[in-house]
């Protein structure tokens, strides 16, 4: 096994396929997460376009009922688990060590493993379209519809096994990242000097660590119900379908904050940089993020207001749900405080960041509206909810991610995404997003239920559905503009300096793109905005010693092998148990090899 120890100038970038397959470098892993996540985002977007085309006119006939049900289920699963979560993980992988001044994450091979297991789970879930039909029970797969009696095909097995595998991957990644944040910080980087992005991701990691086991139990029970004769969710045998809802939402409500907090973190990085002043109320923003995380575990039943919860639970969950508006509001106002009095430089990253504030607020406010159960009894399962979720998920999560992409692109590639195309992308997306999703509020108000593949004319739904569909094509166009921008930029010469935006955080202290070992010299942190502090106090960057031995973990193919084993294990459960056995053998063999592999 090659070692990467050597004198500095000799560290070379060899990018053959094999380097990528065996890499344990957090930047390469982050890149792989990013590319996969984006590809799945496109796929899920394509599914959305088919959905919108079907709904453009009454009694649409683009797809049939069963296919439609698969499409919206897979659209949601793909967006959430294969799109946004990996895109968040991509940034975190890439920038966590860079932002806290470390050379890598705490467990580089575990990091690679998380990626390969993710990819396996993602391919498994997606392949359900080819093998035996995709899951079609909605992304929350309510029992007993998801039980074997009512969903006899393989779709829901793909759902359960796929999510179990993806959960394993997320759990490993979260453990790894949490340890890294706690333990790998550069000298002087106290917890209250961590960049807000890192703080938000730390909250995300804990949300996942504490909520994934709950969905794991629910999925295990579903698998047992479907395959091993238990009756957890079969009412006729004493089972209770409401138990599934509790377990699912105890996971899935924290999950929605898993989707939004990374973008809140990104925006908290971008806004101060281009306002040319420090983040307003750092401590408040951090504590608000933690409060959102904690409260997020106490609100799940607001998804179940119509299930006959009873008076007292409705009141309790109303109170806890509405309480979340307070910490979220604190963030919004602090971001506005950051803009206030600034000298705002509007480039594409900043356009996205500022529009995030506006769009997320709209989504958050509709959230507070259906936090009131009597109101929700009219809105639940209508397009009003669909409007809410897309304002927070698209206007929030996706817009935040694009902000981060434009902001960090020069750091990651050494190249600037084109600003002119970027602004076209922004405006098309901003306008398209509002045209697509705002009318859904009106549709919900006039009673259009969600998850319907067809509707009659003369219910007053035609106009706004058509408008929404047109908007979704505009969104597709905006994505194409972005793709053009991306590929065109990648053909240009790298021109970015170390810190082209004059940003305050540590990732900008190293070259663009960063060297394999991240930092020649681990920086010393003297302030919450270290690079601004150094700039203002005339502190020079420490020159690297002429000869240096930097220890980097060697590449390893065991993560890939284990990922493959886990995939086989899952495929085996769905098809032939012999494959599972093979998978187990591969996993055990690779863990053994992993343990004995030298890391020097």
């Amino acid at each position: 096994m090659a070692t990467a120890t050597g004198t500095l100038p000799q560290v070379q970038e060899e990018t053959t396929i094999w380097t990528w397959l065996t890499t344990v470098d957090h930047k390469k892993i982050g890149t792989m997460y990013g590319i996969s996540g984006f590809a799945f985002f496109l796929l899920a977007g394509l599914e959305a376009l088919i959905i919108r085309t079907q709904l453009a006119v009454p009694n649409g006939a683009v797809v049939d009922a069963d296919r439609y049900n698969q499409l919206f289920t897979m659209h949601a699963l793909t967006m959430i688990f294969l799109g946004i979560m990996p895109l968040g993980a991509a940034f975190f992988n890439y920038f966590l060590p860079l932002m806290i001044g470390a050379r890598d994450v705490a467990f580089p091979r575990l990091n690679a493993l998380s990626y390969w297991v993710f990819l396996g789970g993602a391919l498994l879930l997606t392949s359900s379209f080819i093998f035996g039909g995709a899951p079609d029970g909605g992304w929350f797969a309510y029992a007993p519809l998801s039980d074997e009696e009512f969903s006899p095909g393989a779709g829901l097995d793909f759902y359960a096994i796929g999510l179990l595998i993806l959960g394993t991957s997320s759990l490993m990644a979260s453990l790894n990242f949490a340890v890294t944040v706690f333990n790998m910080r550069a000298p002087g980087m106290s917890m209250m000097r961590l960049p807000v992005f890192i703080w938000m991701m730390l909250v995300v990691n804990f949300l996942l660590i504490l909520s994934l086991p709950v969905i794991t139990v629910a999925l295990v029970q579903l698998v047992f119900d479907r395959n091993f004769t238990t009756n957890f969710f079969t009412p006729a045998e004493g089972g209770d379908p409401i138990l599934w809802q509790h377990l699912f939402w105890v996971f899935a409500h924290p999950e929605v904050y898993v989707l939004i907090l990374p973008s809140m973190g990104i925006v908290s990085e971008v806004l101060p940089v281009f306002s040319r002043k420090p983040l307003f109320g750092y401590a408040a923003i951090v504590f608000a993020g933690v409060a959102i995380g904690v409260l997020g575990f106490a609100v799940w039943s607001h998804h179940m207001f119509t299930t006959g919860l009873g008076t007292v639970p409705q009141i309790v969950f109303t109170a806890s749900t509405m309480a979340i508006a307070v910490p979220t509001g604190i963030k919004i106002f602090n971001w506005m405080g950051t803009l206030y009095g600034g000298s705002i430089h509007f480039n594409t990253a900043m356009y996205f960041a500022v529009s995030f504030i506006a769009l997320f607020t709209i989504g958050g406010i509709s959230g507070v509206m259906h936090a009131s159960p009597p109101v929700d009894s009219q809105q639940q399962d209508t397009y009003f909810i669909v409007a809410h979720i897309h304002y927070v998920l698209f206007g929030g999560a996706i817009v935040g991610i694009f902000s981060g992409l434009y902001y960090w692109f020069p750091k990651m590639t050494g190249r600037f995404l084109d600003e002119r195309l970027g602004k076209i992308h922004f405006w098309l997306m901003f306008i398209g997003m509002n045209i697509t999703f705002f009318p859904m509020h009106f549709l919900g108000l006039s009673g259009m239920p969600r998850r319907i593949y067809t509707y009659d004319a003369d219910l007053g739904w035609e106009t706004w559905n058509m408008v929404a569909t047109i908007g979704s094509y505009m969104l597709a166009l905006s994505i194409i503009v972005f793709l053009v921008n991306f590929f065109w930029t990648m053909r240009k010469e790298p021109t970015a300096t170390d810190n082209p935006w004059d940003a305050p955080t540590l990732e900008w202290a190293t070259s663009s793109p960063p060297p394999e070992h991240d930092f020649d010299v681990i920086p010393e942190v003297r302030d919450r905005d270290p690079l601004w502090y150094d700039r203002d106090h005339g502190i020079e960057k420490v020159e690297p010693p002429s000869e240096m031995h930097i220890h980097l973990p060697p590449p390893s193919y065991f993560p890939l092998l284990i990922g493959l084993g886990v995939l086989l294990l899952g495929v085996g459960v769905l098809s032939h148990l012999a494959l599972t056995a093979l998978g187990v053998v591969i996993v055990i063999y690779s863990i053994w090899g992993w343990a004995l592999e030298p890391t020097e």
Binding site: G137, L145, G281, I344, P374
Partner: protein, 341 residues
């Protein structure tokens, strides 16, 4: 920092833009109140209470939205990069931060308290003299029974005006949800659970309902109708529904009756005949219904014939199978069923 005239005029401009947008939104919002399934024009007592809260929440939400959008827009334009302007490096301001923690707290309390009181009112017990109805969700149709009145029907619920109705919600298979937007918010029909819902309609007319919980292939086609009558009309309806099925008249219908009481008897009940199946809707008075297959089609001979020829073709996933009836049988059945007033 004292606001400059420029800042003030830009803020006013931003406010104007946001207010105009909000006004346009309001027009579209309000326009939905005249749609057939609107959630904004309640015609029952409970819905009135909900609606008061709904409007209040909407107005507060609107104010928050206008505030945040205006200031964000205003700051974005006022503080655009200008040559020579070096922003002051402020890290925070405790007084402001406390203030903008307290404002949301106040708004949240203002929304929460009336919510609690409406929850308590609407989840309480129905009045004693309420009409009892049992609504059962099936994939993909609704059954309505009136205990004590000997009436069982499907997909069309008839109610007297100005009398409370207490709907007991059950499910035979998966979770469905009972929702008539103009009369009441929804409550789910969960197998194994006893949910219920009560309201007092205060206007006569026909109201559209829809299953609101995803329940499989034909969830979209699981609709129903509620007819609210003057009390005497309701009593007449009950009397006609409680009667047994009309015996078949004429050769065609007689032949149809024969098929119906054999081939269809395993699934359908036609009171007064030996058809007592429980799987499909009660057909005793099928001809008195305005729609077929849970609100999908107008109830007329043509649609009935099409339905009998191939139910899953007409309604995806239908539990009623294609029985491969020939044209003659269909004609006979239609003749018979269309007489079951």
């Amino acid at each position: 920092m004292r606001p400059s005239p420029r800042a003030i005029s830009l803020t006013v401009l931003s406010l104007a833009i946001v207010l105009i947008t909000t006004w346009l939104i309001w027009i579209a919002w309000d326009a939905t109140a005249s749609d057939p399934m609107t959630t904004l024009a309640p015609l029952s007592d409970n819905a009135d209470a909900v609606q008061g809260l709904y409007n209040f929440v909407t107005i507060l939400a609107g104010i928050v939205m206008v505030g945040v959008l205006t200031l964000t827009l205003a700051f974005a334009v006022i503080f655009r990069e200008r040559a020579g302007h070096e922003p002051q490096q402020i890290h925070g301001n405790s007084r402001l931060e406390v203030l903008w923690t307290l404002i949301p707290v106040a708004i949240v309390i203002a929304i929460a308290l009336p919510s609690f009181s409406v929850i308590i009112d609407t989840t309480g017990d129905a009045p004693d003299d309420a009409l009892e109805v049992v609504a059962t969700g099936n994939q993909w149709w609704f059954e309505f029974e009136y205990p004590g009145l000997d009436v069982t029907t499907a997909n069309e619920l008839h109610l007297p005006v100005d009398r409370a109705v207490n709907v007991e919600l059950r499910s035979e298979d998966v979770i469905h949800s009972f929702w008539v937007p103009q009369l009441s918010g929804k409550v789910d029909m969960v197998p194994g659970h006893e949910n219920r819902l009560w309201f007092t309609p205060h206007e006569t007319g026909m109201f559209l309902g829809q299953c609101a919980e995803f329940c499989g292939t034909s969830h979209a086609n699981m609709r129903f109708r509620v007819f609210v009558h003057a009390p005497e009309d309701f009593d007449a309806w009950v009397a006609s529904q409680a009667a047994d099925a009309e015996p078949a008249q004429g050769d065609l219908a007689l032949a149809g009756e024969k098929i119906a009481t054999t081939l269809c008897a395993a699934c359908h009940t036609i009171r007064g005949t030996n058809a007592v199946g429980q799987i499909g809707p009660d057909l005793t008075h099928i001809a008195s219904r305005t729609t077929l297959a849970s609100g999908m089609f107008e109830n007329n001979s043509e649609n009935m014939a099409a339905w009998l020829a191939n139910p899953p073709g007409e309604k995806p996933g239908s539990i009623m199978p294609n029985l491969n009836l020939n044209a003659e049988q269909i004609e006979q059945l239609v003749a018979y069923l269309q007489d079951l007033k």
